[in-house]
């Protein structure tokens, strides 16, 4: 009887409150994170000045922390795609409050991950030679190199993710524009591109989102597959494995979901979103995390069993180095963090609470970081000629830069949630729709306005 279902002013108020009210905590957090990021930038500057020699990289372990972090952050960027695109395509309605959090993780994780190929270059001022542009020297990038594939894949994914994030943001930016005043109104107005919300615009937007969801999925899968090709294309023992493509994609989705759970939990607490992010959201993501943990175990088991059966001397050297040798403590920590801790927490409904999933997620992030490290360093340290084996020790420069990337992620996320509603307001409202009454008779009956003539 004329129920005001669409007067969702309280929802809009709640979700735009962070934009209009700033607490002192915000400034403190931004300052702290900004300082750490500045330290990282200074460390990078020092490294550019003196050379890669400041890191722990050496002959023959030419890749270390930077590539580990690169793969780690690109892996985390798979959170958004899974949640947004797949769940959108299968019409899973519980995704609605979660999509923008996830898409934001993707965009920022990609940006941070894409910094690392620049950071690890020996001559980073020449990075633009990876770009295919016509130069007077008539020489182009080598399209046979997996690093060039990386360039194309990551740029495509970054562009796609940015647009995937921005398009559904437009209606919310319009909403903020309508509530803002003065200078802010103009900025949000410009960003909202004059959006009004006509049926034509909504229809176009929804079609575009559908196409983007279909398009971004293969791109996301290809991105981490191509990152895995950085390793599997080289004849290095335990790198040259056909399993790397699917293994890396599964690992990426695994770490991405873990990052998403942590981000959501933090947002829920700091922005008071208890009315929008329910325990059931964490439960559902927790079930997905459990599934990915089992999948991860499956891949690791399949790969290691194959290597052990093959008994190839080069590969066995790496195998034993990780399982019983120098890297054994890290290896078993990884197994604990990726499986032994998350599995019981996520398998039992009693422990699959918000706190439980967050603990499991932290363990997974540590475990997945270690997994990337253990893929890269033991193999490089134990290649085919034993005389040239070597170990790797990270140096302060690498640790500072790595810490600053975590701070950068937190900082970017904080700033984003300050300027844009972190939960997609219009998508949330759509989920609340009642069953439609379409015929004039139904409409009039419902309103008690039954008439004999239209």
């Amino acid at each position: 009887m004329g129920v005001n279902r669409t007067l969702n002013k309280p929802i809009s108020d709640d979700l735009t409150r962070p934009l209009f009210h700033t607490s002192v905590w915000f400034y403190g957090l931004v300052l702290a994170l900004g300082t750490v990021v500045a330290c990282g930038a200074a460390a990078w500057g020092t490294q550019i000045w003196y050379g890669i020699g400041l890191t722990g990289k050496r002959w023959p372990v030419f890749w270390g922390f930077y590539l580990t972090n690169f793969v780690f952050w690109i892996g985390i960027s798979h959170a958004g795609t899974l949640i947004s695109a797949i769940l959108r395509l299968v019409n899973a309605t519980w995704r609605r409050p979660v999509t923008r959090c996830a898409e934001v993780i993707t965009v920022f994780a990609l940006m941070i991950g894409a910094m690392f190929p620049l950071i690890h270059l020996g001559r980073p001022w020449l990075f633009f030679w990876l770009v295919p542009y016509p130069s007077a020297r008539e020489i182009w990038p080598n399209f046979r190199s997996p690093l060039v594939w990386d360039f194309f894949a990551i740029n495509t994914y970054l562009t796609g993710s940015l647009l995937f994030l921005f398009l559904p943001m437009i209606p919310d930016l319009a909403l903020v524009r309508d509530r803002a005043t003065g200078f802010r109104r103009r900025i949000y107005g410009a960003l909202a591109l004059g959006w009004r919300g006509t049926t034509r615009q909504w229809h176009r937007l929804e079609s575009a989102m559908q196409i983007m969801a279909i398009a971004i999925l293969p791109v996301a899968i290809s991105v981490h597959t191509i990152v895995s090709f950085d390793f599997s294309m080289a004849p290095v023992p335990m790198w040259h494995s056909t399993i790397f493509g699917p293994y890396f994609v599964a690992g990426a989705i695994f770490s991405g979901i873990a990052a998403l759970i942590i981000a959501m939990a933090v947002l829920r607490r700091t922005l008071n979103l208890e009315a929008y992010l329910y325990p059931v959201h964490f439960e559902n993501l927790g079930k997905l995390l459990l599934l990915m943990s089992l999948l991860w175990v499956y891949f690791v088991f399949a790969e290691r069993l194959t290597v052990w059966y093959g008994n190839d001397p080069s590969e066995m050297a790496v195998f034993w180095a990780t399982q019983r040798g120098t890297y054994a403590p890290l290896f078993w920590t990884m197994v604990t963090c990726n499986f032994l801790i998350p599995f019981p927490i996520l398998a039992l409904k009693k422990t699959r609470t918000i706190a439980g999933t967050v603990i499991a997620s932290f363990a997974v992030l540590i475990g997945m970081w270690l997994e990337r490290f253990l893929i890269i360093v033991p193999s490089l340290g134990h290649k085919s000629l034993p005389y040239s084996w070597g170990t790797y020790r990270p140096q302060p420069v690498e640790i500072v830069i790595m810490a600053s990337t975590f701070a950068a992620m937190a900082l970017l996320y904080t700033l984003f949630s300050k300027f844009v509603p972190i939960i997609s307001i219009w998508e949330l409202k759509v989920g609340d729709h009642p069953r439609p009454k379409l015929t004039p008779q139904e409409l009039d009956e419902a309103a008690g306005l039954w008439r004999t003539q239209p």
């Binding site: 004329g2 129920v3 005001n4 279902r5 669409t6 007067l7 969702n8 809009s12 295919p132 008539e138 020489i139 182009w140 080598n142 399209f143 046979r144 594939w149 194309f152 894949a153 740029n155 495509t156 562009t159 796609g160 647009l163 209606p171 309508d178 410009a190 591109l193 004059g194 009004r196 006509t198 049926t199 034509r200 909504w202 229809h203 176009r204 937007l205 929804e206 079609s207 575009a208 196409i211 983007m212 398009a215 293969p218 791109v219 290809s222 307001i425 219009w426 409202k429 729709h433 069953r435 439609p436 009454k437 379409l438 004039p440 409409l443 009039d444 419902a446 309103a447 306005l449 239209p454």
Partner: protein, 168 residues
């Protein structure tokens, strides 16, 4: 910019308003419905159905594919350098780059089509009311002819609980 519109608090009333406007003589392209969320289940959202976006996305993908094919094979032959004994124009590695550019083409084509067909960004004045952001649904006519304005007013008022506004 002249306009006449009603602001309603629920989509059922809005649907009725659209029907009443049609009876009052407004043509479908002239009726504007603006809301802060899409109402795909309602008939008033279905007037602008267009599925040609998928074709344009496919076209963009094809353009990306062609460009990448040209880029990889032409540049590899400009200064042919033997690497690892692989063919000068290496098919499978090129396919990876071609795939990425195809998807990029499809994505960019979709976004550009969205912006163009949704008439974004726009500088022109169009019918709008900031109360839409509070959840009201606007049903109205932009630049109505003077003869019909009263009929429209009556139609909008009779739809149910809501406010009718006019702008000059």
């Amino acid at each position: 910019m002249k306009s006449i519109y009603g602001l309603y608090s629920d989509p059922d009333t809005a649907q009725r308003a659209v029907d009443r406007l049609r009876t009052a003589g407004a043509t479908d392209p002239a009726i504007v419905v603006i809301s802060s969320e899409p109402f795909e289940e309602y008939e008033f959202s279905h007037r602008d159905h267009a599925t040609w976006m998928y074709w344009i996305a496919g076209g963009g993908g094809a353009a990306g594919c062609a460009f990448a094919y040209w880029l990889t094979s032409v540049t590899q032959q400009l200064w042919p350098l033997n690497t690892a004994g692989m063919p000068i124009v290496s098919g499978i590695p090129n396919a990876i780059v071609i795939f990425e550019m195809t998807m990029l083409g499809a994505i960019l084509a979709t976004v550009i089509t969205l912006l163009v067909s949704a008439r974004l960004p726009t500088r022109q004045e169009h019918i709008y009311d900031t109360e839409i952001s509070d959840g009201y649904i606007l049903v109205g006519v932009e630049n109505p002819e003077d003869a019909n304005v009263d009929a429209y007013h009556a139609a909008l008022e009779s739809a149910g609980q809501g406010r009718v506004k006019r702008t000059a």
